[in-house]
Symmetry: D2
Subunit: 142 residues, 4 copies
C-alpha cells in the first residue's frame, strides 16, 4: 500500500468538534493523486493527454473521529482495474490517536471528449502501470 500523510486542519472541523465527514472525500483524492504520481502517471499526465478520470462512485465507512491537528495516514491501493474502470481502496488511520478513522472505495472511468474510453488505447502507459501493479505479488496480494 502507498501511504499519504496529512494533518487535519482547523478549517476542516465542524461544530461537533471533529473533522467534517465531507473532507475525507478530499483526503481520498489527495492520496489518489499522490499515489498515481508515485506510480509514474499522475493527474497532470492524464489531463495532458486530454483524458479525465471522473469519480463514478464513492463509498466510505467512518469508524473513529479525527480531530483538529491529528495526523492522518491514508493508505491507497488499486482494488481492481479493467481498462475502462478502476477501483481504488483507502484506509485512513489516525496516527495521533492510534485509531482507524475510515475505510473507503472510489470508482473511476476514463473520459475523452465526453466519451468513456479504454485506457489500453487512450493512455497505454497508465494501462501498463496499473496492470503491472496488480500483477505484482507485493501489491496485489497485500
Amino acid at each position: 500500500m502507498f501511504h499519504y500523510t496529512r494533518k487535519a486542519q482547523y478549517h476542516e472541523t465542524d461544530q461537533m468538534g471533529v473533522i467534517h465527514h465531507a473532507n475525507y472525500i478530499k483526503w481520498m483524492e489527495e492520496a489518489r493523486v499522490a499515489f498515481l504520481d508515485a506510480l509514474g502517471c499522475g493527474y497532470v499526465d492524464i489531463e495532458r493527454e486530454g483524458l479525465g478520470s471522473p469519480v463514478v462512485g464513492i463509498s466510505i465507512d467512518y469508524r473513529h473521529p479525527t480531530m483538529f491537528s491529528d495526523e492522518a495516514e491514508i493508505g491507497v491501493r488499486i482494488n481492481r482495474y479493467s481498462t475502462r474502470m478502476m477501483e481504488i481502496g483507502y484506509v485512513i488511520r489516525n496516527v495521533t490517536r492510534g485509531t482507524l478513522a475510515a475505510e473507503g472505495v472510489s470508482k473511476h472511468c476514463f473520459l475523452k471528449d465526453g466519451a468513456v474510453v479504454s485506457l489500453k488505447t487512450a493512455l497505454p502507459k497508465l494501462d501498463a502501470l496499473l496492470s503491472a501493479y496488480l500483477d505484482s505479488d507485493e501489491n496485489g496480494n497485500e
Copy 2:
C-alpha cells in the same frame, strides 16, 4: 419524498469544468438538514438536547455531471430507521439539464456524551416522527 433545491456554485466547480464530486456530500447534508427541519425536529433541536447524529457511512453513485449555475433538486427520504441507526436516501436531479446527477445513501447513529444511544429514550420526539414517517403510506411506499 422531500425536495431541497439549490444552485451549483462557481466555487464548487473544478478544472474538469464540473461540480467537484466532494460537494455532493455537502448537498446531501443540506438536504438532510432541511428535511429534518420540515419533519419537525431539526439539527438545532437535536444538538440542543446534547445529541449528535454523526455520519457513519456514505455511498454515492455519480450519474451525469452538474455544471456551474445548474439547478439541483435533491430528493430525500428515510430508507430505514431502528432507534439506533437511520439510513437516508438521496436522489439528486439536475433540473436545468433534465438529468439524474447522482444517487446516494447516508447512515447515521445517535451520540450522547460520546456513547451511541437509542433515540427512543434520548429524543422520543424525533423517534416518534421518524416512526410515523415510515408508517405513513404516503412516504414509506413511494
Copy 3:
C-alpha cells in the same frame, strides 16, 4: 443594493461553533454571481465570450458571528468600475440575529487569453450595464 439570501450550513461551521471565516468569501462570490445575473450579464455569459473575471483582491471585516442555520442576507453593489477594473462591495447581515455579520470588498480585472482586457472592447454589453448601473441615481447614490 441587490440582495442575495442563503442559509448558513452545517458543513460551514468550525469547532468554535460558528461559520468558518473562509466561507464568507464563497458567500460573496455567490452574491456577486446572482447580482451579475440580475444585472443581465452573468458569469455564464462572460465565460461564453472567452472572458474571465478573476478576483485580484479581497478585503473583509468580520463583525458578529454567523451560526449554523442562521439566514444571511448579502447586499451587493458596484463600488467602482473603469473598463479594466471592477470593485464590488458587500454587506452581510445576519437576518436571524439582527446583526451585521461582515463587510467586504472584492476587486476584479477581466482576462482574455491570459491578458488583461478592457470590457469596452471585449464585452461591450457588460460595460454598458455596469456604466448604466453607476450612472443611475438609485444605485450609485444609495
Copy 4:
C-alpha cells in the same frame, strides 16, 4: 519569516483551471496554525485555555495564479501585536512556477467566554512569545 509548504490540490481548482481564490484564506490559516505551533503555543494550547482567536479581518492581493499540483510556500510573520489584537502577514510564493502568488494580512482578537480579553492576563505564555518575537531583530526587522 516562518515558512509553511503545501501542494495545491485538485479539489481546490475551479473551472478557470486555477486554484479558487477562497482557498488562499485556508492556506493562510494552515500556515498560521503551523507558525504558532513552531512558536511554542499553538491553537490546541490556546483552545485548551478556553480561548479563541477569531479572525476579525482579512485582506489579500492575488498576484499570479496557482495551478493544480503546484507547490506553494506560505511565509508567515507577526506584523503587529498589542495584547488584544494580533496582525499576521503572509507571502504566498508559487515554488513550482517561481512566481509571487499572493500577499495577505489577517487580524485577530482573543476571546474568552464571548468577551474580548488581553492575552497578558488570559494567556501570558503566548503574550510573552509574541512580544519576544517582535523584539527579536532577526524577526522584527526582517
